[in-house]
């Protein structure tokens, strides 16, 4: 039957209740035989199928995963499959950047009438998984010598320090702001008293995104915040506004320039994508081997504002908290995907990481897809419709069988 001496792949299929599950029922009714390797998990809709489930299936030693639902226009819930399609459009480039073998993930639309298609799809997936051999999650084949050029040094901001300090001092003295969030020589400064204003400078150091302070309870307690915002901070504010986290009128923004219109620099990512998938995986395995799960990336991020992060949710535990390969990959995939269409490219995650992991590259995978496929740049416009949680009938689906 196959040349892979008895290896029988394990295939997990997440299917919607109304089309593909019924398609599988029909295959049964018509006695259409297919390999017994597949295990169906019935969900109401492809809209319900989160990428974490795919990651989890591979952790549970699946050799291939199928996600299948109703054809466009046929969704029992009108649009769940469109939402799913949009998410996979952003998820695939992320996996691609990781060097994940995309031949192990399959998306199809199978209707309740397509018992024959279900049979064929399962047969094909099983055969292809057999050929690919057993999947070993995140196993690196050797070591990658590739290194990104890394974040460019921060641009010098053109603002004038004296007037910045005057502005901040006045805001604090007049009680118009309870805290001025800015940069100082050593790092971020939370100026609370007028005299603190002298520590502020446009070109100070900060490994973190200043807007990350807006989510801190103890900072919120200080009263209306003012923020000394660079272009990336402005973009972050825009996304935070899009996502109802802030109201612009509640924040005093001190800015010397706009949110920036220059296209992001994807050259490192482009270079990474030039590598073979296996080497990409080796690169990330080497990088994540250093991750100690200190969550500096999350804490420094302007857009990781969840009060309870998914990694801290344990019923069920979607992501292992241990800093081993499985837990680290799951964590970084999750974080990057949660930033898909949202990351403003500030680079805080990369700068904050004590292990020197260039996490920005991962976020860029989805950002680049957003830019190329949707002409969407996170934070460019606070009134823009976000990229995830919406869909378009014309979303591309060439990867869906």
């Amino acid at each position: 039957m196959s040349e892979t001496n008895g290896f029988e792949p394990k295939i997990v299929a997440y299917v919607c209740n109304w089309c593909t599950y019924l398609g599988a029922d029909l295959a049964g009714t018509n006695r259409l035989e297919y390999p017994p390797n597949v295990r169906l998990i019935r969900l109401p809709c492809t809209g319900r199928i989160d990428f974490n489930l795919i990651v989890k299936a591979f952790e549970m030693s699946a050799d291939a995963v199928l996600v299948s639902g109703c054809h466009p226009g046929d969704c029992h819930y009108t649009a769940g499959n469109y939402h799913a399609r949009r998410r996979w459009m952003l998820f695939r480039p992320l996996l691609e950047a990781l060097g994940f073998d995309l031949r192990r993930i399959h998306f199809t639309w199978i209707s309740a009438a397509e018992g024959r298609k279900f049979q064929q799809v399962i047969a094909e997936i099983t055969e292809s998984a057999r050929k690919l051999g057993p999947y070993r999650p995140y196993e690196a084949n050797g070591e990658s010598k590739w290194r990104p050029a890394g974040l460019p040094p921060p641009k010098r901001r053109s603002g004038d320090d004296a007037s910045l300090r005057t502005t901040a001092r006045e805001l604090l003295a007049e009680g118009k702001a309870g805290v001025v969030i800015g940069r100082g020589e050593r790092g971020p400064v939370l100026a609370r008293k007028p005299e603190d204003a002298d520590r502020l400078t446009w070109n100070g150091a900060s490994k973190i995104a200043l807007t990350a302070y807006l989510k801190r309870k103890e900072v919120r307690a200080l009263g209306k915040p003012a923020i000394v915002a660079g272009p990336a901070d402005l973009r972050a504010l825009n996304v935070l506004e899009q996502e109802s986290q802030i109201r612009r009128e509640d924040i005093h923004v001190i800015a010397a320039e706009g949110p920036g219109a220059a296209p992001p620099d994807f050259s490192d990512l482009d270079a990474l994508l030039q590598l073979e998938p296996g080497e990409r995986m080796a690169y990330w395995a080497g990088e994540f081997d250093r991750c100690v799960k200190c969550y500096a990336c999350r804490q420094a991020c302007p857009l990781c504002y969840c009060e309870r992060c998914i990694v801290d949710k344990n019923r069920p535990q979607a992501i292992d908290t241990s800093a081993h390969a499985r837990g680290n990959f799951a964590w970084h995939i999750t974080r990057a995907f949660h930033l898909a269409g949202r990351c403003v490219g500030c680079g805080a995650c990369t700068r904050a990481c004590p292990a020197g992991i260039d996490l920005r590259l991962l976020n860029q995978a989805a950002a680049r897809a957003a830019e190329r496929q949707f002409g969407y740049r996170a934070g460019a416009d606070p009134k823009a419709e976000p990229l995830v949680g919406v869909y378009s009938l014309t979303d591309k689906e060439e990867f869906i069988g």
Partner: protein
């Protein structure tokens, strides 16, 4: 008279250990501008000089970030347990004195109410060779916590750079002596003493109720970078990871800086804001731990400040405490 070894000799020593199937770890350049203590597979990767302090600590070689304690399998409704063992190989670790000095401090906590077998076995199997410092940076404050650039605590041998690729070797234990047996040459060159960083702070009295906590630590964003790169922080969490077939119980690093660290199931959190968590960390290092075990829980390595994304660090907090005392002094 002194015993000296060349850099090539050191690498030969490391190679020899590797050849014997034992483990070697030490500072190595992970990528441009990032030096970390890493297990190495080739001696050429080791760095012996040219840097102040790696971005992490050596505690990982004794107290890994993730360590399975036991595994279990479900056989029907029966649970089958399977113990885990730390690897039996010997380790040779090259370290800065401030990292090595953390080991005798940590020995207390890992052998207090019960002896941590995993930690102890690794300690026994490891030879720690320190590289005495010949430079320091703004974050170094070993001299302020009673240590120095050539502190011997925790080391089995201390190396002093002589220049020209030669090191003076001063073994301090039998393990250290054995490691260098037949590998050194007699010489009359000895290392010139190096004073290390100036005393940057007098260890202040740490007060529990003080506005200084809020004033000095508000910038903290609550990540674990300081704790995870600190040679002495040793909090861990016991977690179960498993599925319907089985799983494991493991010991994972944890940090008092995480808001979840003290979150009760009720939803109440006694350390509800970041300054409280910062206070806990400093208080524990300079008050609770010494009260309980004697030594303070800080070797002045400065990693907390180097790695803090928000530019904080123990030294800065200590200085702020010191300054707040000064403020309260009558003029």
């Amino acid at each position: 008279m002194s015993r000296i070894i060349t850099e090539a000799g050191l690498r030969e020593l490391a190679e020899a250990w590797l050849r014997d199937g034992q483990a070697v770890a030490g500072p190595s350049e992970v990528k441009l501008g990032l030096i970390q203590y890493r297990p190495i597979t080739a001696a050429a990767r080791l760095l012996f000089d040219g840097f102040v302090h790696p971005a992490n600590s050596i505690k990982e070689f004794f107290f890994p970030r993730h360590e399975p304690l036991y595994r279990y399998r479900l056989e029907g409704s029966r649970v089958v347990l399977e113990d885990c063992e730390p690897p039996a190989v010997k380790q040779l670790v090259f370290a800065r004195p401030c990292d090595a000095a953390a080991l005798p401090v940590l020995d207390h906590v890992f052998n207090w109410d019960c002896a941590d077998e995993f930690y102890n076995r690794r300690r026994e199997a490891t030879t720690v060779v320190t590289l005495a410092c010949s430079r320091y940076d703004d974050e170094c404050f070993c001299t302020s916590v009673g240590l120095g650039p050539a502190a011997e605590q925790g080391a089995d041998a201390v190396l002093f750079a002589l220049g020209g690729g030669a090191f003076e070797v001063r073994p301090t234990t039998a393990k250290g002596d054995a490691a260098f047996a037949d590998r050194t040459e007699e010489s009359d060159r000895t290392a010139t003493p190096f004073a290390g960083p100036p005393r940057r702070v007098a260890l202040p009295r740490v007060e529990f109720d003080s506005p200084v906590w809020e004033d000095a630590t508000l910038e903290c964003l609550g990540c674990g970078a300081c704790a995870y790169t600190c040679p002495t922080c040793h909090c861990f969490d016991i977690v179960d990871e498993g599925n319907a077939a089985g799983g494991m119980r493991a010991k994972n690093w944890d940090s008092c800086q995480f808001s979840l660290f003290t979150l009760h199931a009720s939803g109440h959190n006694p350390r509800h804001a970041q300054p409280r968590r910062q206070r806990q960390r400093i208080y524990h290092k300079f008050h609770i731990y010494p009260e309980k075990f004697g030594p303070i829980l800080c070797t002045g390595c400065g990693n907390c400040a180097r790695q803090c994304p928000a530019g904080l660090g123990v030294l800065n907090v200590l200085k702020a405490i010191e300054a707040s005392h000064a403020e309260h002094l009558p003029a």
